[in-house]
């Protein structure tokens, strides 16, 4: 159990630092790279939590597709390579709001789940496996699945429709 803890903390610290860098870095590409670090960290966390299917999906889908998408975004919008100030005029109020929100959430979480423990037993592994996920997905959540398929189709066609140059 200790091993997972230590692993968690290492990854957590890395993820936190990377997240902060994403929102404070002066170079777009760096921001994208830091984002990818966070995503990989998250995938690792899922693996720690024995949710292997979700971890793997996270890794491939997010890191593979979404991160690449961002890089395309940076290239297409011809963002300047040299460092530039990307912060707008409401930096301080933004910081204040996010810190306030963080404070409230943390207080609430501690109050609600102060002493809860997750024991990573092997039956937990059974839940995280692909067959369990697939089984539940196609039994109780068929309709959302179909709806998501329509959603992806719509998003795809929509994005293409407005991004075309005609």
């Amino acid at each position: 159990m200790i091993a997972q803890n230590i692993a968690f903390w290492i990854i957590a610290v890395v993820m936190a630092a990377a997240a902060v860098r994403v929102v404070t870095s002066r170079n777009l590409v760096h921001a994208a790279l830091f984002l990818i670090t966070v995503l990989i960290g998250a995938s690792a966390q899922f693996i720690i939590l024995l949710a292997e299917f979700v971890g793997v999906t996270q890794f491939f889908l997010y890191v593979g597709a979404v991160a690449v998408l961002f890089l395309f975004g940076i290239i297409v919008t011809r963002a300047p390579m040299q460092p530039a100030d990307y912060d707008n005029d409401q930096r301080w109020p933004a910081l204040a709001v996010s810190l306030l929100l963080l404070g409230v959430l943390v207080a609430l979480l501690i109050d609600a789940f102060g002493h809860q423990e997750i024991e990573l037993s092997d039956d937990l592994l059974a839940i995280g496996r692909s067959d369990a996920v697939g089984n539940s997905l196609f039994r109780t959540f068929v309709v959302p699945f179909e709806v998501v398929s329509m959603l992806l189709l719509a998003a795809l066609i929509g994005a293409v429709a407005i991004a075309r140059r005609d």
Binding site: D111, V142, V143, M150, A154, I157, G158, A161
Partner: protein, 486 residues
């Protein structure tokens, strides 16, 4: 235990999906520049989707699939019919608008109908995941539709604002849902969450979680302070899309709130009731006050729809003490609001075609130049203001009834705020009527005087609803009474 699959329950969604695909493919096979075929095809598709809804209604049996995750009861059927009708009118209204515009026709109806599909799914969704997915399916096509006029910076601005605030709100909602999932011990189904809420030993986090979840819907319903996107997006995006946003997607938001409150958190009322009370009061007041000084008709209607959203929230804010009456009030108010707003936007489109301007000044003397349009616009606006004998009065009446059935200090103060607001509201609604009737026509016509056929049908439908229901509200009242699942 492979469930015997009840296709009839899913029939409306399936038929609509079929129609969507047909519209997409038809546009590929025989592309037509002025887009009339596609719009007729789309409206046909919607009407066909209406058939299964009617059969379900006639059948009358409540159906529940996927362990209660997808339920088709009177409430769901009534609202599915409502959404399909609104979609039909929206297509009618946008037929000529899109046709004349130099935009890419095909996908417009595809996106519109997929958003409608999301709404149908929403009415039957009874668990967090379905609600979330349905909500996203409603939103994402409309993000694109908002930015449909690619070369107009205003339309882009509308799209980015709508997209950003939308995505942020759904993120906050998701965060809330995840907390609820955790707190309720892994329950996704609203019924189970309801049992947990009834237990009543939830930590304060539960109240905050509920509030965070409601933020997503508050955005959709454009309740203050989550309404900032609405005026800019309404003004920026093409008017048919604005009409669709102000009626259909707002109704979708309300359906979500109804489902999640009545089926989910009903017992934990001390957490969501004050929130809704605050949202309702703020929306009514801010919406009405800001609308007083608007010069653009669409922006004024945007603030008016924020205020009307506030009026619809009022019964929800007293739902705990008068469950049946407030549920009924929301459903009836939605039906009538839908008709009134769609009618108003239809006239805005017709007038915009003539005067090429969205300013209220351009309505001066409409009473003389186009008396029928003048009468219709005055009827819709004064109905929004709640003046009998137009339908609006019954909507306001049912709302006040719910407030008074609840009784209690909070409810009565909200009632008085609503009364005062309806007086303030009259001021800007009458302002437009004043321009139409009391002033002489200013500029001469910039566009064709004739109102296209599709638009006339849309106007006729909404005007019929506003006048008939105003005099004999029993029709909608009956439907409203039936729709209450409690």
């Amino acid at each position: 235990m492979n469930p015997v699959f009840d296709y009839h329950a899913l029939a409306p969604e399936l038929v609509l999906s079929g129609a969507i695909v047909v519209v997409l493919v038809a546009d590929l096979l025989f592309p037509d520049r002025e887009g009339l075929q596609t719009s007729r095809l789309a409206s046909l598709g919607i009407l066909v989707a209406l058939v299964p809804v009617l059969t379900l209604a006639i059948d009358g049996a409540d159906r529940s699939l996927f362990g209660g995750g997808f339920v088709v009861d009177d409430y769901a059927i009534a609202l599915k019919a409502f959404f399909l009708l609104v979609a039909y009118v929206t297509v009618l209204v946008s037929a000529d608008y899109v046709g004349e515009g130099d935009y890419y026709k095909g996908e417009f109806y595809f996106l519109l109908m997929s958003s409608v599909l999301g709404m149908l799914a929403m009415t039957s969704a009874r668990d967090l995941i379905s609600i979330f997915v349905a909500l996203e399916l409603i939103s994402i096509p409309t993000f694109v539709l908002a930015g449909w006029r690619k070369h107009d910076t205003k339309s882009n601005e509308a799209a980015i604002k709508y997209y950003l605030i939308g995505v942020l709100s759904s993120a906050v909602m998701l965060y809330g849902m995840s907390l609820i999932y955790g707190l309720s011990g892994g329950k996704v189904l609203l019924a189970d969450i309801g049992k947990f809420a009834a237990a009543g030993d939830a930590p304060p986090l539960f109240a905050v979680a509920i509030f965070l979840t409601l933020v997503g819907f508050a955005f959709k319903v454009s309740a203050v302070p989550f309404h900032f996107w609405a005026p800019d997006t309404y003004e920026g995006s093409p008017t048919p899309v604005t009409a669709f946003l102000s009626v259909a997607s707002k109704a979708g938001g309300f359906v979500a709130i109804l489902s999640i409150i009545y089926f989910g958190f009903f017992e934990a009322d001390e957490s969501w009731q004050p929130v809704l009370w605050a949202l309702a009061a703020a929306s009514m007041t801010v919406g009405n006050l800001t609308a007083l000084r608007q010069t653009n008709i669409v922006r004024m209607l945007a603030y008016s729809s924020v205020a009307q959203g506030g009026f619809i929230l009022v019964p929800l804010a007293v739902a705990q003490d008068a469950p049946r009456a407030s549920f009924e009030a929301v459903v009836i108010y939605l039906f009538i609001y839908g008709a009134m707003n769609l009618g108003a936007f239809a006239v805005v489109i017709a007038v915009a075609r003539r005067t090429r301007s969205g300013e209220i000044e351009s309505y001066a003397g409409l009473g003389q130049t186009a008396p029928v349009l003048g009468i219709l616009m005055s009827a819709f606006l004064l109905s929004l203001a709640g003046i009998p004998p137009l339908a609006g009065w019954f909507a306001k009446f049912v709302m006040f009834r719910a407030v008074f059935e609840a009784g209690g200090a909070g409810a009565v103060t909200l009632g008085v705020i609503a009364a005062v607001n309806s007086v303030i509201a009259f001021f800007y609604y009458a302002g437009v009527a004043r321009r139409i009737w009391f002033e002489d026509p200013a500029a001469e016509l910039a566009g064709p005087a004739r109102v296209p056929a599709a638009l006339t049908v849309a106007l006729a439908m909404s005007a019929a609803v506003v006048l008939v229901i105003g005099v004999y509200p029993q029709l909608f009242a009956r439907v409203g009474e039936l729709a209450v699942p409690l």
